[in-house]
């Protein structure tokens, strides 16, 4: 659900097919019938953006039918915890939870807190299980039919399959991708599945869990070792203004129990890795060197800052926002306002050449001679031309070996950033300015090799892994200390270089290993392949069933053992109970399976940490042809909007933009196209940008199969070839027909195959928790024929805006 796995993770999908051959039931819930659907037992068409209705109804089904795995829920979830008396649910407040402040646009989570009391009988009206029941009571099969367009029979089939395949002997797995995340309710989509899977006892069990299928070679790595504004390596938060010393930062971040109780060890070890001997106990380990956040500094916010002239310089490093980011037109307008731009890539992507071939040049909104952006294009090394690790979607680090030298001036990013840093440090050497101290005090002396002076990736990996006081590589994050004796660049990766051996380069063939294959590469943390696998055993440490045995307590040897690295301290018996005053991992008992949580339990109800509620509620997408039938509150109240002339939104239920559209990927192309549209092999497999429409929508709008269509939003209009297909089916929602238009988003103006960018249609509307854009559901109009060219395109869009009652965009001359 929220995934087209066969399309976008084709080789991984072989395992789904294997499971199917062994008798697993494969279900695909998706707005379109796709390659995944073709291999599933059943495809369930669903309205894009209504996933919480569907999943919430599954939760309701499980609770009201008493299908939940009672022993698991009692032991491993917070079902028994009591919620504050002050808590008010969306049922009470028309779609809001208690604590909403309209003025600040934020929730105060004080009324969501757990009291600390528990009712093990799960009967108390304020215990989490009962709060859940009440919250999801109106999420019925009738509601699913009305809001999702899913017939009752189809929902019943899914519900039966899920509950019939959960419990001690059988497990059900959910797989999702950006069909869940790219929504303004993205995090809550996933949360609903987490509640369901926790109730069914599927978390931490083989063949269970929720698999996040991410989309890029090392996007997982780029989140773990983050080039993200709000994170430091290992999911430590970036410090905020007002956290003036390490103590304040640690207080805000650590948990009293569980492995976040060792927060200070991770933080100090990181600072020591970065600043080396300059970081001492006396200067708070150079904590003051870190810049502070004051709010949203995400990529979409940054584009606004570029348009305003506040952000003057930009690096694009293997990414192409002129095609790949939401409101791609706004991205390009931002590029045109920069002082300088550095693009590093294999090919000349649209983001590098916007100044001569952006669509805005054709419309006249931008003129090359007026674009003052200084652009540097630096050719990048390919993956075959450098050493390093990728982290795949299963947290598996795999080392890739350099095969050849990069051609010409092409260099790796490791080379670029190392030497950029070296040059900056040389230019600032001897500076007395205190703001230059952090970059001058960085540990930045990596060995370089060869004619190109390429830094050693292995040396960097070793720093990421961490070293002890004697300089030897550490083996586990449990060895990290807060007294400055350890250094570690990324605590969750500690162990990837254990024993001074590059564990990520291990390549024991699968034929020579167990089905878990732990000796191929290295997974974080601690080479553990299924997280929270303590939950695969009952509170006494025995597998829930022989069939689903994964890890278990060996009483004779006094340790946990099994097919994987147990996700619990090896020597901690199930009978362990913490002494009063215990902290960190010691504060969790031997029956606590979710060891990163402060109470050791899977959260059915999330008391703090989420911006839009402790429980998921159905909200309509920011742009929708439907009203919210459940609540007075139409959309997620906390969703992030950017009110700018370049980013107009459609009102809900707009008659001018009555169709839902959704964007997605194809197997043969890759994201914003730089790695696929430029290759003849791939371009010939998917040679043209197209839209997918149902025969009924084609008839309604006069669209011809293989003809052209123009798709219009308040942002702009694009054209695409028309594919009329039964793979898209009209849905009956709220008693009327809702049509959906499908748009692969790979195309841009350059390459062997070119076309309009689908992302030009989208506004920037983000999930409030992680600031990911809603690109899976928005509204549009579609009409036959090609789009106008030049200024006539702007006239068309202006006409639509007027009809929809959306304000005029500020002139680009002004």
């Amino acid at each position: 659900m929220g995934s087209n796995m066969a399309e976008n993770h084709p080789v991984a999908f072989q395992w789904v097919v294997q499971a199917k051959l062994r008798g697993a039931t494969v279900l695909h819930v998706d707005p379109r019938f796709t390659r995944t659907s073709a291999l599933a037992h059943r495809h369930v068409p669903i309205r894009a953006g209504s996933d919480i209705v569907f999943l919430g109804a599954l939760v309701n089904h499980v609770l009201s039918g008493e299908h939940y795995f009672r022993d698991y829920v009692a032991a491993y979830t917070n079902a028994a915890a009591l919620v504050s008396e002050d808590f008010r649910d969306t049922e009470d407040l028309g779609g809001l939870f208690s604590g909403w402040d309209e003025r600040s646009g934020r929730y105060d989570p004080a009324s969501w807190q757990l009291t600390g009391e528990r009712d093990e009988t799960l009967q108390h009206p304020r215990c989490v299980l009962q709060v859940l029941r009440r919250h999801f009571a109106r999420y019925t099969p009738d509601l699913v039919e009305r809001e999702c367009g899913v017939p009752r029979e189809a929902f019943a089939a899914v519900a039966g399959a899920v509950t019939g395949n959960s419990g001690p002997d059988r497990t059900t797995a959910f797989v999702y991708s950006v069909g869940w995340t790219q929504h303004t309710a993205g995090v809550q989509n996933i949360r609903t599945a987490a509640i369901l899977q926790a109730l069914l006892g599927n978390m931490g069990r083989p063949g269970g869990g929720i698999m996040a299928l991410r989309g890029h070679a090392s996007i997982q790595g780029s989140t773990d070792v983050p080039t993200l504004f709000d994170l430091l390596p290992g999911y430590l938060p970036m410090p905020r203004a007002g956290q003036d010393d390490l103590d304040a930062y640690v207080r805000a971040g650590q948990q009293p129990a569980g492995f976040w109780g060792l927060f200070r060890c991770y933080a100090v070890s990181l600072l020591r890795a970065w600043f080396g001997d300059a970081a001492t106990a006396g200067n708070d380990w150079c904590f003051s060197y870190l810049p502070r956040l004051t709010g949203d500094h995400g990529t979409y916010q940054t584009v606004g800052a570029q348009l305003d002239g506040a952000c003057k310089g930009y690096f694009l490093v293997g990414e192409n926002p002129a095609v790949g980011s939401a409101n791609a037109r706004m991205q390009r307008l931002g590029l045109a306002r920069l002082d300088w731009l550095v693009v590093r890539d294999l090919q000349l992507i649209e983001s590098a050449t916007f100044w001569r071939d952006a669509p805005e040049i054709e419309t006249g909104e931008l003129r090359t001679a007026e674009i003052g952006t200084e652009v540097f294009f630096l050719p990048a090394a390919a993956h075959t031309e450098k050493d390093g690790t990728f982290t795949n979607t299963q947290r598996l680090l795999q080392w890739h070996h350099q095969a050849v030298q990069p051609p010409g001036d092409a260099r790796s990013e490791l080379w670029f950033y190392y030497h950029l840093g070296r040059r900056i440090r040389e230019k600032l050497a001897g500076s007395a300015d205190p703001r230059d101290r952090p970059v001058l005090d960085l540990t930045w002396d990596y060995p370089v090799e060869g004619r190109l002076a390429e830094p050693s990736a292995e040396a960097v990996l070793r720093e990421i892994n961490g070293t002890g006081p004697d300089g030897r590589a550490l083996s586990s994050y449990t060895e990290l200390r807060d007294d400055g004796s350890t250094r570690c660049g990324t605590w969750i990766y500690c162990g990837c270089y254990a024993g001074g051996v590059n564990q990520t380069a291990r390549r024991r063939p699968w034929r020579e290993q167990s089905w878990v294959a732990p000796e191929w590469g290295w997974a974080w943390p601690s080479n553990r392949r299924i997280l929270y696998n303590r939950a695969s055993a009952d509170p006494q440490g025995r597998p829930w069933s022989r069939r689903k045995a994964y890890v278990w307590w060996d009483e004779q040897r006094g340790e946990w053992t099994g097919h994987d690295n147990p996700d619990v301290e090896r020597a901690k018996p199930p009978s362990y109970r913490p002494a009063p005053g215990a902290a960190g991992p010691d504060a969790l008992s031997g029956t606590d399976a979710f060891i990163m949580q402060r109470d050791g339990k899977a959260a059915l109800f999330v008391a703090s940490g989420l911006a839009d509620g402790p429980l998921p509620a159905h909200y309509e997408p920011a742009e929708s042809p439907c009203r919210n039938d459940l609540y007075g509150q139409q959309a997620d109240p906390a969703l992030r909007r950017y009110q700018r002339p370049e980013n107009p939104y459609h009102p809900p239920e707009s008659a001018v933009f009555p169709y839902v559209f959704t964007t997605y990927r194809l197997t043969e192309h890759h994201t914003a196209g730089g790695m696929s549209r430029t290759l003849p092999y791939l371009a010939e497999l998917q040679p043209e940008f197209f839209c997918e429409v149902s025969p009924e929508l084609a008839a309604e709008r006069g669209l011809q199969h293989m003809g052209w269509a123009t798709i219009v939003t308040a942002r702009t209009a694009i054209e695409a070839r028309v594919m009329v297909t039964e793979r898209i089916t009209p849905l009956t929602v709220q008693g009327r027909t809702v049509h959906q238009v499908g748009l692969p988003y790979h195309w841009g103006s350059r390459g062997v195959t070119t076309g309009d960018p689908a992302n030009d249609l989208l506004p920037m509307a983000l999930d409030p928790n992680v600031l990911i854009q809603e690109s899976k559901a928005a509204t549009c109009d579609i009409r036959p024929g090609r789009r106008p060219r030049g200024p006539a395109l702007l006239d068309l869009v202006a006409t639509y805006r007027r009809r929809a009652g959306i304000g005029e965009e500020a002139s680009t001359d002004g």
Partner: protein, 193 residues
Amino acid sequence: MHRVASLPTWIGRWPAWRQLTGRDDLGRGTAARSRRTDETVARTRTADTVARSVCPYCAVGCGQLVFVRDGRVTQIEGDPDSPVSRGRLCPKGAASKQLVTSPSRQTRVLYRRPHSAEWEPLDLDRAMDMIADRVIETRRATWQEADAGGHRLRRTLGIASLGGATLDNEENYLMKKLYTALGAIQIENQARI
């Protein structure tokens, strides 16, 4: 495979002769097989070296074997030993050789002056120097030492970066390390998108 025995002359290799005298009556199979075909050997067998790599496209992380001859990549195939992929590659992974040897791959630095309609060549060393200067200057011009309440900020909002999902962990690590020490906080990648 048939060979016509003991006819060392061109007659023995003549497809029509082989069609008449051999088992391939229709002349569409072994009779038409050429010497060039016989002498063709898989690039994977004549490679100088084979490197173990990982596909650069999606996040499955299929194993790749990179075959190299004379310093060039001659083929990229799946790694049969991988428990993740068992030697398979999808169309994108299978096109990796074209990705890394594409004739439209850029190998030289290009520079666009403000307001110019053209790219110019630029020396890599000079480009690095210019970029370093711009980072330092923009940072200086947009530095924020503290907020209105006097709380330390120590940052610049004048510089931003986007990219990392296709890069190595080691690369992301140096990027975050350097940017953070410079005070640049608007550092993002595809994971946000």
